[in-house]
Structures are given as structure tokens and as C-alpha cells.
Subunit: 340 residues, 2 copies
Amino acid sequence: MVTISDVAARAGVGAGTVSRVLNGSPRVKTSTRERVLAAIQELDYRPSPLAQGLSRGRCQTLGVVVPFFTHASAVERLRGVVDALDGSRYDLVLFNVESPVHRDEHFASLTRRDRADGLLVLSLPPRPADIERLTAAGMPIVLVDVRGAGVSSVITDDNEGGRIATRHLIALGHERIAFIGESPDNPFGFVSGTARQQGYADVLRAAGIREIIAHGPHDRLEAQRLAAALLERDPRPTAVFASSDVQATGVLAAARAAGLRVPEDLSVVGFDDIEISAYAGLTTVRQPLFESGRLGARLLLEALAGNGDAAGGGVQVHQLPLELVVRETTGPPPRDRSRP
Amino acid sequence: MVTISDVAARAGVGAGTVSRVLNGSPRVKTSTRERVLAAIQELDYRPSPLAQGLSRGRCQTLGVVVPFFTHASAVERLRGVVDALDGSRYDLVLFNVESPVHRDEHFASLTRRDRADGLLVLSLPPRPADIERLTAAGMPIVLVDVRGAGVSSVITDDNEGGRIATRHLIALGHERIAFIGESPDNPFGFVSGTARQQGYADVLRAAGIREIIAHGPHDRLEAQRLAAALLERDPRPTAVFASSDVQATGVLAAARAAGLRVPEDLSVVGFDDIEISAYAGLTTVRQPLFESGRLGARLLLEALAGNGDAAGGGVQVHQLPLELVVRETTGPPPRDRSRP
DNA sequence: TTGAAAGCGTTACCAC
DNA sequence: GTGGTAACGCTTTCAA
């Protein structure tokens, strides 16, 4: 394994000079630089990230904490993160979270400034104590799809998203509109689902319509089960607003299984606009997933570049726009047989 | 930032002793150990992975090189990797590859033994020179979904997969069966598609049926375009074997756009069995994606544990089984109007 | 059983 | 401009 002193010896200079060449210091005579560069080339030398990290006090690594990273929405956000990191000198270390224990372990171990230079947290609400400990340790953090006191974040207005979806259904004439989403007291403290439900509830209340709510984890089969139960009610809902497209596809499956046509018998609105949604013709509230990941990573990169420890631009909160994408799963409600 | 000597001072011992406690050396008096443990606790001390890495010559990190990590099949493999790593002491560093340049950069930089302790390569054929350089540098490697000379790998029999799909269609009575898949001279040297095509061709030839082949990248829209062209032919194919489920969904979309019923007018078989496939009712050749990632990671972990530099078990090649999953997109061909 | 000290490969400060 | 030389935080001999 070739080290910096091998290169130094070969070039007939000191290790310090090699280091200066490596780091682009201007205080090196051109002829020397060329000699060093040649030696590097000949030896195929590459500096040890470990040693560099130890010496510089940073490790050129960004930690990404993400719950259920295989979920389509998480993947899409990650894609944005990877895109932003591409070309930067930072490596991406993935911390998957599938349980509160996971989360706590990761946050605890990431306190060390030399495990990652910065932290990107996707969709997972850190506890105030975590934020405090992390920032106290000088760890730059950016939150995506969650907010946190004193931390920069990239968010959307989930509440408004809920309103958008619900208004769309009401405008179509629906009066029995169900909501399927994550329970407010889910083990991770996810809040977007609850905010969407709140928006839904607000609009319904204003319209004098009763809420129909079913709670379950962010899972297609789970949502399918909930929807199946909902569709057995009499009178049954004529529309369902699902808190995510994954859950919406579960609703579509339930409708199909119940022999209901979409949108003639049942309208379905989702949330996210993941890849499958276009394929399934799903009407949904689109949020810029890719963009959120990319922006989050960029903010983090900026904070790291403005090497003042506590960031350069202070706390920034970026709110990304939502957009209703009308496709083929929503339409007017069926004519009500009870009032012909 | 609390260091090992802080702990040592607090416990009234030397740094070496703290290190021994940390690493579970038996040569520490119980009372001393307890004192040290207490100090660690009180100071909330966590060792620096960087310093440990530098000192030990390894960094407790596994590199995963994966092309287009957001593709559903890659995600599923990654899930297996993460699952296997969970509980191990290894971090996962993700190297996404979207171009041959990417690939070369990553392989070059990963030569350094201190950037990752081991390498898992998913679906991407490394060039012989890469393998040589990597193994020469003592970097343990495991390949998943590709094989490489002198390297352990987890694979499936893609050729057989192609035969399975094609036999299924022939058994249903099809005689005009098209193939859509990656071109043999794609820029990454992906080979699974070509092997599947080979299996397809072998079976057709044995049955005396002509091949109908369309090549394009692993992309739904691209496949949709190719399929649309295929479906305009006269006579048109009565079945399509797509080299991946992503491409198969493109074919389904094309059929829908052309007003063709599936499977009455057109049968479609895919490959992989990703999540969307069950939802779409797609008949497909299932390969154990999750399992392949998990097994690959386990092999790598084992190689790292049997700390002999060149691995403990020698080169292992594990072949995972394929399975035809018949759903709703395949059936008998339409009656041929040309011979009533 | 333990402490002291020599690395591990860089960077960065200080002289020359 | 450049070489020497402390760090950086840990592990691992080597003695005691």
C-alpha cells in the first residue's frame, strides 16, 4: 500500500510538499509540483480517506437516516440526494430505520462528528433531545419532509395537500369521502399523514360532511384490507383519499376485488406521485420527492462549505409546492340509489 | 469531543487499558474494567471510527456498487444487503453508477483498502482489470447477478429463465413471440438480458419459430415505445417476453394504448417479480432479489470474518432458483384470422 | 494486569 | 518554497 512518504521519497521531496500538491496549495514551485504529480501517477497513489479524515477532523461522508428506504417515495428522495452528492467529494452512508430502536441507535452513534460530516434525515421526526445532542456536537443537520426546532428543513404543506385532494373530490360531487392513512400515534411519530388528515377534515367540516377515517401503516396490503372493510359499509363511500400512493394502490386493488369500477363506482386520490402512479392512472397530489432530496443535500453541502461550524445561512425552511395531478381514478360519484 | 485519554484519565488508568476494555480483551482485572466502563458511561464516550480504522487498517464499512440503484430490482437487492448488514458492525456506503465513467471512478477509488473493507457489486460486470487490481489490493469482493473470474458470486440461470418464459408461451400455443430486452452491446456490459434472450432464442429455434427481437434500455417508456412498434406489425406478435418486469409494464401500457386486451389479444411475460408485478397481475419469471442481496452480503461478511486476507472458503458461486409465476397476463393466443 | 510508547497516513504549523 | 514535526484518536506491542 503506497503512502504519502513513498511518493515523497520518489519525488525527492518531503511529505508536506506532497500534501500541498495534493491539496492544491499555491505555495509550490511548478517544477516541484510536476515532479510530485509524476511520482503520484507512477505509483498510482491515492490518499487514505481515513488518515485524511483523522487529520482534518472530518471524513467526507454524509449520513442519510431514512425510515424504510425501499419505499418508493424514500427511494425517489434518495435519488435526489445521490444526484446532489454526485460530483461532490462526499460519500453517502445509508442508515435505514425500521424500528424506533434503529432510530435511537443511529442518532446516538451519529453524534460523533467523525462518523459523518453532516446528517440528512428523511421523513423521520428526530426527538428534540436528539437534535439538541447532535447540534451540540456540532453536527450539521438538514431535515427533509419533517421540521424540527432550530434545524433547516425541506418540507411541503401536507395540510394543504389534504385540502387539495378533498376539495377535488367535493368539487366532483362526492359526499361520502373516506380517508386512509397512518395513525397519529404511530411508533415513529410520522406527522405528514396526520397533517393530510387534518386538511381533509378541515375541508369536510367546512362542507358539512362527515369524516370516515381508517388508520393503518404505510403498506399496500394493509391499505387494501382497510379499504375492503370501508367498501362493505352501507352506504359505502364513493371516494377515498389515501395518504400515499402506495396506500392508494391498495385501495384500487380492494375496489377491483369488490367488483367496483374506478372511477364510476369509486374515486381514489393518492399522495406523492411515485412512478407506479402514472402507470396506474392514479389521480394524486404530487409532491417533488426527487427535488426534496436534492435540495436537502444541497443545503447540507452548503452548510458544510460555509465551514463556520453552525452553518452559514442560519436556519432555512424551504417549502416545496404541491400539485394536483388528475388522472383516471377520479370522477363524479355514482348516482345515489337512495334518492333517485 | 471526548477521547480515549479523557476516559483513561477519568478512570485513573492508561489509554491502553481503556482500549482493551473496549475491545473485550480478557486481560483486564474486573474491578478495573468496571471503573473504565463507568467512566465511559459518565462521559458518554464513543470511539472514533476514523481513528480505529486508521489504527486497525480497516474501516468497518462495506461498499456497494450498484447501477441505477433506484430501479425496483436494485432496491430489492439492496434491501437484502441492508438486512444482512443490520446487526453487523458494518456501515453501508452506496456507490451509484449511472455511466461507465461513474463505474470506472468508483472502482478506481475503491482500490484503497481503507475506503471500504469489502465490496459488493450488484448486476454490474466489472472488467477483468478491475477485478485484478481490486483483489491484488486485497479487497474482498462479492458479485451479485454477475459472475467474474476468481470472484465469489450469487447468480441465477438467466438463460434458463429465458427458456422458462418462452416455453410457457409456446405451451399456450403462441407462434409469434417477441422479445424485448437490453442490447448485447449496452455500455455497461450487462449480460443478464442477453442470456435471457439466448434462452428465448434456443427454445424458439427448437420449436421452429422465428425470433422477433427489439432492443432498448431497461426503462418502461422505452419498452413501451418498442412494444408499440412491434404491435403495429402485420401479422402482429401474439405474445411478448420482456427481459424485466419494468419493461413488461411498458408493454402492457403499449397494449392498452393500442386497444388490445391482455391476455386475450396479447400475452406478456416479464422477469424479476418486483412489487408492481403482483399488483399488475403480471406473469413473470421470479428471481429471489432480496435473497440475492442478503446472501451476497453474507458471503462478504464471512470473507471478512475469516480474516485471512484472501477469504476463507475460496471462491463460491451460488445459483439461486427461478420460478415461473403465472398470473393474468398470459393466455392462449387469439384465433388466427389468416387461417380460420 | 497494566502503563508507556510506537505506529497508522495525513495535515498543518514552524522554521529555514 | 520546502522540510521537519507535532498533532489527530486509536490499537498494539513491549516491559514491567
